[in-house]
Assembly symmetry: C2
Homo-oligomer: 208 residues x 2
């Protein structure tokens, strides 16, 4: 199924899903759009509009069924399955990602890690084995690695991206400092520098 949605809408759906998953764990069955919107920090009108885009409509005076809505958003986001991840770069950020319970719980599973540094190769970190890059093509096939997650900078990041692409990985999430310059047919690249969150806050503090 093809569905085109602006990135900001998908981000908000991901946020709604986080809140719904929490409500669901707490055993809540129904939620009114006003309450869900407040918990997510958006307006009720925005929430209803976003949810109607993905075909979810609440019942007037009753609201949404938590589990049904959770399931539907999961399906739309591609979160109703397990994704196999390869980590590229065993720095502090890389090790924090391997330890992230949020990712494992949500179906983003690191299956293998890769680095050039001799001291890392052969180690097991958070139950994930660290391989040398020569083993990458074999492991992409054998372990069905789909997403490469890069934490490196500059030329190291570019080289890791190229190796991953050549080994058959279809998508790269670059969490390192530099936007990837690699252009490759059929390869999906997301540059997602999480430090932008600090800029957004500094901007608000400067202009509020």
């Amino acid at each position: 199924m093809k569905l085109k949605l602006p990135q900001v809408t998908v981000s908000r759906l991901a946020l709604y899903l986080r809140v719904l998953e929490k409500l669901s764990r707490q055993g809540q069955e129904l939620i009114r759009s006003e309450e869900l919107a407040e918990r997510c920090g958006v307006s009720a009108a925005q929430l209803r509009k976003d949810l109607s885009l993905v075909g979810a409509f609440g019942v007037r005076g009753v609201g949404y069924q938590v589990r049904a809505l959770e399931k539907e958003i999961k399906r739309i986001l591609g979160r109703d399955r397990i994704w196999h991840l390869a980590l590229g770069g065993l720095n502090e950020l890389g090790r924090a990602l391997l330890a992230e319970e949020r990712l494992a719980r949500r179906g983003f599973r690191f299956v293998a890690a890769f680095d050039w540094r001799e001291e890392w190769i052969g180690q097991v970190i958070q139950e994930v084995f660290v391989y040398s890059l020569e083993q990458l093509p074999y492991l992409v096939k054998e372990s069905d690695l789909e997403i490469g997650v890069i934490t490196l900078a500059g030329k190291e990041a570019e080289l890791m991206a190229e190796k991953m692409y050549q080994a058959g990985i279809k998508a790269l999430l670059n969490l390192g400092p530099d936007p990837l310059e690699l252009k490759a047919e059929g390869l999906l690249i997301h540059n997602a520098d999480f430090t932008v969150a600090f800029d957004l806050l500094a901007f608000e503090l400067t202009h509020h």
Copy 2:
């Protein structure tokens, strides 16, 4: 100076700034809007529109002056100064943040870290001292702590947020898994779950 810009625009300005900083380090003096746009992964029209919003106009056939544009975006984003950060939570993510050269280099300086856990208190991690929470009010004043960065989950996150607010911190960046429920007069809260980047990629892989 008050300036209102949509969050997506501020995010793009932060991205342009990252690329400009890199060009500036490499000694490049001029850049055409088409090239800058391509390096940032946006259209040239989008880039020109964003830059005109902040009063920066390129010269036809010449482009933008790298250093002048870098300086202007820095000023607008509030990145032309040092921000004093307090870390709340010494988990894997917290330690990765203390090690983030990107933050230090961009003026986001962790000055103190806080945790409840006895094993952390008194340690020095990446040159940052870990204090107990009782010392928070004193340190906010003494070290002019402005931004609290929270990496904890659930009730621990809420309690840390409350303590930071009571101690006089004016803004919280919550990088933990749960949106903060705390509402407090004059307190700016940003919930920025970086794992949303994984959802965005999963969505694209599912629908492309």
